[in-house]
Amino acid sequence: MTNQVNAPRKATGRSAAVKSVKPATATPAKRAPRVKVAKRTPAEVAALTEIYRQMLLIRRFEERAARSYTQALIGGYCHLNLGEEAAVVGLLSALAPTDYLFTNYREHGYAINRGIDPNRVMAELYGRIDGVSKGWGGSMHMFDISHRLLGGYGIVGGQIPLATGAALAIDYRGGSEIVMCTMGDGTTNIGAFHESLNIAALWNLPIVYVIINNRLGMGTTVEKSSAEPELFRRGEAYRIESARVDGLDPLAVADASAKAVAVARAGRPYLLEVVSERLRGHSVVDPAKYRTEAEVVQLREHDPVVTFGAKLVRERVLDADTMAAIEHEVTARIDEAAAFAEASPTPDIATLFDYTYATPVANDSRRLPGQPLFDPAPLPDPGEDQ
């Protein structure tokens, strides 16, 4: 058994154990050797700055999405990655462009960080033709084959068997790619999670399962839904190497992700638990009334973008001018995405039946509601056939 704990064993309860959760700012000593000011090369400064910029891009994108949602420019459900920016950027930093990513429905940030044009992600939210899924998927179903983001899935846990099968296909062909499959904490109670981990371990599939543990389902805590609340330990039942990492620290997540990806690339599955925060409600419309005021205050202290930015300033990687310039650039980029989305046309009604089947098939129904099955038939000839 090779399970190990990479990060402080955070208690996962919200109310009873929240005090034992160490804020990200309380753990710099652990990473101090890597962030000493004196040792920074220009390349390191550029890399850290880029991590911050990517986190901020997700932050501002999601804030804009929330605004557009309340303006009714975006429909359906809208789940945001606010609070998850460090996790997203850290996790995806370990992937090669040829690797595959499957996510759940909280995936805008993953799409952007995978390198997909934010214009096209925003256009998908707006239900427009230039969206990554051509307006067919919406917030929960982002997909871009060229960036190997193989969905965005709205059914909790639905992506896990699929991702496992993608890893099977890679293994079948002897490829060197790996699959990363993200999910929320509540998902680890669904059968598909356990069935998939078992299959991946039996068949030595190249896949990293990632649990984003923000300690809440919608409003139900991990303690109330998972008999083993240290979720990464669920790998033990399948002899899958696993670890838990502090999801508020992009560098720690990047390290943990790199290790997980290396294991997968060597042909073994891996289970990585990323302890994260969800800064707002489950979706845009959720006011999160189940949170106490103390918890809300603590959440602000746990804001990964603010925390990481402050740390970079403190360590003199960034100064106020640079931060302002990044803010300006990112805001302009998001404005452009929103403008692009708004200008993109909605799909033509004539394309409604274009994506039911990939292989055209006889007698496929292509009728709008109320259209008759058959053209009005002429009356039978009374003399015929009698």
């Binding site: 099968g165 993608a166 099977l168 598909a192 998939s196 299959i199 007698n363 496929d364």
Partner: protein, 337 residues
């Protein structure tokens, strides 16, 4: 032509498609070492090895979903679900994923997947192992559902299903595995979405699929001998898409229809066929469309109860008689032939 069983036709077709295309692989419970619950995959593990013939854990949702994911990357998996009853455990993956992926992502990923699974009552397997629930899948756009009744169709439709870029639910039937028929040597695929008129006639259209296509054919033979009736038989073969034009063309000629199905009556496949006839041939009908279906009970184990619940040849003959009697046509027929 070679005469062989339905089972042999499936086996030989799987083998031929695996030889033809190395992207074809088989997944399912007990299909390898055990050679399949119904021995469709006998010998294939020995010939192709564990890479291409995978014994899976008992995890229908997991392995069906894995097959869908593998199909998204271009493999052409053929999944065996031991009976259609167990497919309910994979319903989320089939309905919410296999059927949606092509459309939901704007046509960026295809799912060239076949799910082979037998239905069928009459084997004294009790309520949970005797269901015919293909309707659940036939309801869903994005899936294709085929139900061959003969060894020849088993071959031609399985070839079509494997080479198709969409998920296909391939319905087999426990009672058909040992039935025999002529099978062509060539590997021409059938066209999914097309019914077959397996017997032409002018007096009434009998419509069935899978095992019930045989019951329909038997009824037509018996009524030809006993009553001189000339009955047309349609084997639906494809439940989604449903070949509505073939049904309508037939009923316009015969003016009467009886549907034979061994799923339950209410909301069943026959209900859709009857509605189709109502829409497309209402003015041509001489009598109401009748459906002969399974009694609406969980199928019992005890043989007399099970037999009573399943549609029999006599049940269908009665329905045909009543349909023609209602408009006086059977008597006319007996008179002038």
């Amino acid at each position: 032509m070679t005469t062989m069983t339905y089972r042999q036709a499936l086996h030989d077709t799987l083998r031929a498609e695996m030889l033809r295309d190395e992207n074809v692989l088989l997944l399912g419970e007990e299909i390898g070492v055990f050679e399949g619950s119904y021995k469709i995959t006998a010998g294939l593990l020995a010939e192709f090895g564990e890479k291409r013939v995978r014994d899976t854990p008992i995890a229908e949702e997991g392995f069906t979903g894995a097959a869908i994911g593998a199909a998204m990357l271009g493999l052409r998996p053929v999944v065996e679900i031991m009976t259609i009853n167990f497919s309910l455990l994979a319903l989320d993956q089939i309905v919410n994923h296999a059927a949606k992926i092509y459309g939901m992502f704007g046509g960026q990923a295809k799912v060239p997947l076949v799910i082979r699974t037998p239905g069928g009552g009459g084997q004294q397997l009790g309520a949970t192992h005797s269901q015919n629930i293909e309707l659940y899948y036939a309801f869903v756009p994005g899936l294709k559902v085929v139900a061959p009744s003969t060894p020849a169709d088993a071959k031609a439709l399985l070839i079509a299903a494997i080479r198709d870029d969409d998920p296909v639910l391939f319905l087999e039937n426990l009672a058909l595995y040992n039935t025999k028929g002529d099978v062509p040597e060539d590997d021409t695929p059938a066209e999914i979405g097309r019914a077959a008129v397996t017997r032409t006639g002018r007096d009434l259209t009998l419509i069935g699929y899978s095992r019930m296509a045989h019951v329909a054919a038997q009824v037509a033979d018996q009524l030809a001998a006993s009553d001189g009736l000339d009955i047309e038989v349609i084997d639906l073969r494809s439940l989604r898409p449903l070949d509505r034009p073939t049904i309508i063309e037939s009923v316009k000629k015969t003016h009467a229809a009886v549907i034979v199905e061994d799923d339950w009556l209410t909301y069943g496949i026959g209900a859709e066929v009857a509605a189709t006839i109502s829409d497309g041939a209402f003015d041509y009908l001489d009598a109401p469309v009748r459906r002969v279906a399974m009694a609406e009970v969980p199928l019992p184990y005890s043989k007399p109860l099970e037999t009573a619940a399943l549609p029999s040849v006599d049940d269908v003959i009665n329905a045909v008689h009543q349909t023609l009697d209602a408009v006086g046509r059977r008597h006319q027929k007996v008179g002038h032939d």
